[in-house]
């Protein structure tokens, strides 16, 4: 059987090359992310560093680890999705050939073994290539992390021999998993189908497609209702992973149900595209709903992830900006090195709140294990802070924020169980201290999550931000001019916007590192799917030309059809992403009571236009080359 697999492989190399390419790049990407993650997790802290520097370094590695886990998770999901969709598609394209084997005496088991044998072969070739391609991919990934300062400088990712086994094993495994369902379906092919001209006239919406589609849609709905839309406020980090929670099951469900959407979009296109060519295009689109849906699948993944992760991040940023601008009740912000340079003495100033951000560590003990986790807090004077900020105290009293005390905004995870009066073991400025919780504040997206008593401020704390409230009659420009002798002065709006802009930059960097390579992979998968789809259409194109279409008309029709497929991908991907962003919006409202929803339109429009162009060009080129042979030689021929 493996011999036959080898021969079919040699003969249909275009389709198989596409399958190998998806495995190769998928393995390269997963391998690179895995190596980087392992390197971040096991990175040694060089001896001789000061305690503070060592702490900052290990903290930076922790951050890189979190990011790389997401990168790895995303890359693995996308690789499995793309490979299985490509392999399933390639099998579906070969129904006629498989029916012929059945006619010649192949049993169901033999067809399955043939396809699995092929998958092992392709998976193996793809993995070996992927191991090699993974090296430059890793260099690029590390360069990106370094370039955006998302990993400590000098972050080094060593090659590890065991990755060979992991890469080949996982490459072969995902290839085999990819054909398993398809091979089961293919083994049910009836020998008689070999005699029908269009072997692909089989039913597209199989029971398994319905089941997978509906189960995953229901799963997504349940997760959506339980978590982002549930009544309990979710921690901020959890809100941020909504795309993985909601969009991923939706992507799987939609890709199973996508053939249902094909006639709908076909009808829509029919309204726009009139005339003979339009009719022909729409008919082609609908006649092979599976082909259309399979080509749309990688487009959907690209759009769904970019839009849902991008939309989530910008929505959270916007929520933080709005929250902060509503919370600060002041006019100007002065930044100084000293804690009390005498800002309150300036004419027209009615209130000043001096604030400085400091890092401290919380000590956690579980059984015998003790470890420290860094946290950021704002050292404030409770009275002045309350005067210049809208503070919502849930429990306790902010005025108690004296001595070794903190006020907590339960936004992340562990803090949520804390109560007023609890004592937290902590480390500040290298010394162990016990801090008392003086007040529990309302949750926040923008931060700060901890307010620290002024007595906890280490001597070297700073720079200090002084939020200044002016007398209602005072001239802000004059006051700003007077305050500028202490330090840099900004209006509160400008200050909030600057913080938001800084966050936006960070968001952009994160998205490039998180999505960049994986989305590049989906773009290649899109091109690949278009090529595979066209490979089985030479006879169909030839028949159209014999019927009277010119070569140009055939190519134009193929391009128009490809745009309908892009539209399907955009619609489904957009839907999967909308659910995520909507979930995030609801979760934010539950958390801080703000109604915020932001869509990164420029990014999405560029993405949609880019995809449309890539698909149009690919399908024009493939249709042009598929019509190179004079049609009459293909219409009668059959291999």
């Amino acid at each position: 059987m493996l011999l036959l697999a080898w021969h079919t492989f040699r003969d249909r190399w275009q389709v198989f090359a596409g399958a190998v390419l998806t495995v190769c790049l998928g393995v390269a990407l997963v391998q690179s992310s895995l190596l980087a993650l392992v390197a971040a997790a096991t990175a040694p802290i060089p001896p001789g560093l000061s305690e503070e520097a060592a702490l900052a370094l290990s903290w930076a590695y922790d951050g890189a680890m979190t990011l790389l886990s997401l990168v790895l998770g995303l890359a693995s999901f996308v690789a499995v999705f793309i490979v299985s969709s490509t392999f399933g598609f390639a099998v579906a394209q070969r129904r006629g050939e498989l029916a012929l084997l059945r006619m010649t005496g192949a049993g169901r088991g033999q067809v399955r073994r043939l396809l699995v044998g092929e998958a092992i072969l392709l998976g193996f070739i793809g993995s070996v290539l992927g191991i090699a391609v993974g090296l430059p991919v890793l260099r690029l990934q590390v360069w990106l992390l370094d370039r955006f300062e998302l990993a400590p400088p000098g972050f080094d990712v060593p090659w590890r021999p065991w990755i060979l086994v992991v890469s080949i094993g996982s490459g072969v495994l995902i290839a085999v998993l990819g054909v398993l369902a398809a091979s089961w379906r293919a083994s049910r092919v009836r020998p008689l189908e070999a005699l029908r001209d269009s072997g692909s006239a089989s039913r597209v919406m199989t029971a398994s497609r319905w089941t997978i589609g509906l189960v995953f849609l229901c799963g997504a709905a349940v997760l959506f209702a339980l978590f982002p839309a549930g009544s309990a406020p979710q921690p901020v980090w959890f809100v941020q992973i909504t795309p993985f929670l909601v969009s991923v099951p939706l992507i799987i469900g939609f890709s199973a149900l996508a053939p249902l959407l094909v006639p709908l979009v076909g009808g829509l296109f029919g309204l726009v595209m009139r005339g003979r060519l339009g009719e022909f295009t729409v008919a082609n689109l609908r006649s092979d709903a599976r082909r259309s849906a399979s080509t749309a699948a990688p487009i959907m993944v690209l759009v769904a992830f970019t839009a849902s992760i991008g939309g989530t991040l910008v929505t959270m940023n916007e929520a933080a900006r709005q929250e902060q601008s509503a919370a600060v009740d002041g006019d100007l912000v002065v930044t100084t090195a000293d804690r009390d340079p005498g800002v309150s003495q300036v004419d027209g100033v009615t209130a000043v709140s001096a604030e400085a951000e400091i890092m401290f560590e919380l000590r956690f003990t579980v059984y015998e294990d003790t470890w420290y986790e860094p946290r950021f807090g704002l050292v404030v004077d409770p009275e002045a802070y309350a005067q210049t900020h809208a503070v919502e105290v849930v429990e306790g009293d902010l005025a108690d924020l004296t001595g070794p005390a903190v006020a907590v905004s339960p936004s992340e995870g562990t803090e949520r169980e804390w109560r007023v009066g609890d004592v937290l073991p902590a480390r500040l400025d290298g010394e162990d201290v016990e801090v008392r919780i003086a007040a529990v504040l309302a949750p926040t997206v923008a931060g700060p999550n901890f307010l620290l008593s002024p007595d906890l401020a280490p001597p070297e704390a700073g720079p200090w931000q002084h939020v200044v409230q002016l007398d209602s009659g005072a001239d802000a420009d004059v006051a700003a001019w007077r305050l500028s002798e202490f330090g840099e002065v900004a209006t509160v709006e400008a200050w909030v916007d600057r913080a938001a802009a800084e966050k936006e930059r960070l968001t952009r960097d994160l998205m490039i590192v998180l999505l960049g390579l994986t989305m590049l992979y989906t773009v290649i998968a899109i091109v690949n799917a278009v090529v595979i789809a066209a490979s089985g259409r030479r006879r169909e194109f030839a028949a159209a030309r014999v019927t009277g279409l010119t070569r140009g008309q055939v190519v134009r029709s193929a391009v128009a059809e490809s745009q309908a497929v892009v539209l399907i991908g955009l619609l489904l991907g957009g839907l999967a992403a909308s659910a995520s962003v909507l979930g995030v919006s609801i979760a934010i409202r539950n958390l801080i009571g703000l109604n915020v929803i932001e869509v990164p339109w420029p990014l999405l429009i560029a993405l949609a236009a880019g995809t449309a162009v890539v698909v149009a060009v690919t399908s024009a080129v493939t249709a042009w080359s598929a019509t190179r042979t004079p049609p009459i030689r293909l219409v009668g021929a059959r291999e």
């Binding site: 036959l4 021969h7 006619m103 049993g107 169901r108 005699l195 059959r638 291999e639």
Partner: protein, 247 residues
């Protein structure tokens, strides 16, 4: 032909009916067909388009299930045979040749011919494969791929592939349909010699009177029923009956 007791027919259909579609739009492609295809001889099935001749072939070969009635190949009933049973049957008892030659493009002539043996889990005997290819006159071209062969040659490879397992019955559906006159003649002569020299039971569907005239017997079908048979036909007889049938 001289034999004492008549051997069982190669294929037998008892009251076979095949209905396509549901109630309102049901089409009776076969309507109570009783037929026995004698062993060691060549029967042609003719009829106008839509008469059910292809359906008859598919049902007789176990490629399609019958709605009612019974189908026998040799002494085995295959009416409700399982897929495994039918697969085994395709490996040993029946061979197929179709209008579209249905060779596997990736494999050479030799490999195509050896395929049924491989699928049956037997190690193909090279000499046996060569002998069969030689019998169809293609020993020289055994290393060629289908696309490097002419239509007539491809059909002869397909017949060689059908014959390599020494099937009890050869089913052929318009085997000359896609061939020019000369190639068609060669293929018919080949099939004739297999019947005469090896007693190959053959069932062939065709609409070409010249092809049908090569057979020992012609069965005429119309609207899913057998309406006539003709023994030792000539091309003129067949054409004449067919013309009357279609009138």
């Amino acid at each position: 032909m001289n034999h004492t007791a008549p051997p069982p027919p190669a294929v037998r259909l008892d009251g076979v009916t095949r209905v396509y579609g549901a109630h309102g739009t049901a089409v009776r492609a076969l309507d109570g067909v009783d037929l026995a295809f004698p062993a060691g001889s060549w029967t042609a099935v003719m009829g106008p388009s839509g008469s059910g001749k292809s359906t008859l072939l598919h049902c007789a070969a176990g490629l399609e299930r019958v709605t009612s009635g019974q189908v026998w190949i040799g002494e085995e009933e295959i009416t409700d045979a399982s897929d495994d049973h039918l697969t085994r049957l395709r490996r040993t008892e029946v061979g197929f040749a179709f209008q579209a030659f249905n060779l596997i493009g990736a494999l050479t002539a030799e490999q195509n011919v050896a395929l049924p043996l491989r699928l049956a889990g037997r190690k193909p005997d090279r000499r046996e494969v060569h002998r069969v290819l030689d019998a169809v006159g293609l020993a020289e071209r055994r290393r060629h791929r289908p696309r490097e062969l002419s239509g007539g040659q491809q059909q002869r490879v397909a017949i060689a592939r059908a014959m390599v397992t020494r099937p009890a019955v050869l089913f052929a559906d318009e085997p000359t349909g896609a061939l020019d006159t000369k190639a068609a003649k060669d293929v018919l002569a080949l099939m004739r010699s297999m019947v005469d020299d090896h007693g190959q039971s053959t069932v062939m569907v065709t609409h070409d009177p010249a092809a049908a005239a090569s057979a020992d017997r012609v069965v005429f079908l119309k609207d899913g029923r057998v309406i006539d048979t003709l023994d030792g036909p000539s091309t003129a007889d067949v054409a004449d009956r067919l013309a009357r049938l279609e009138a």
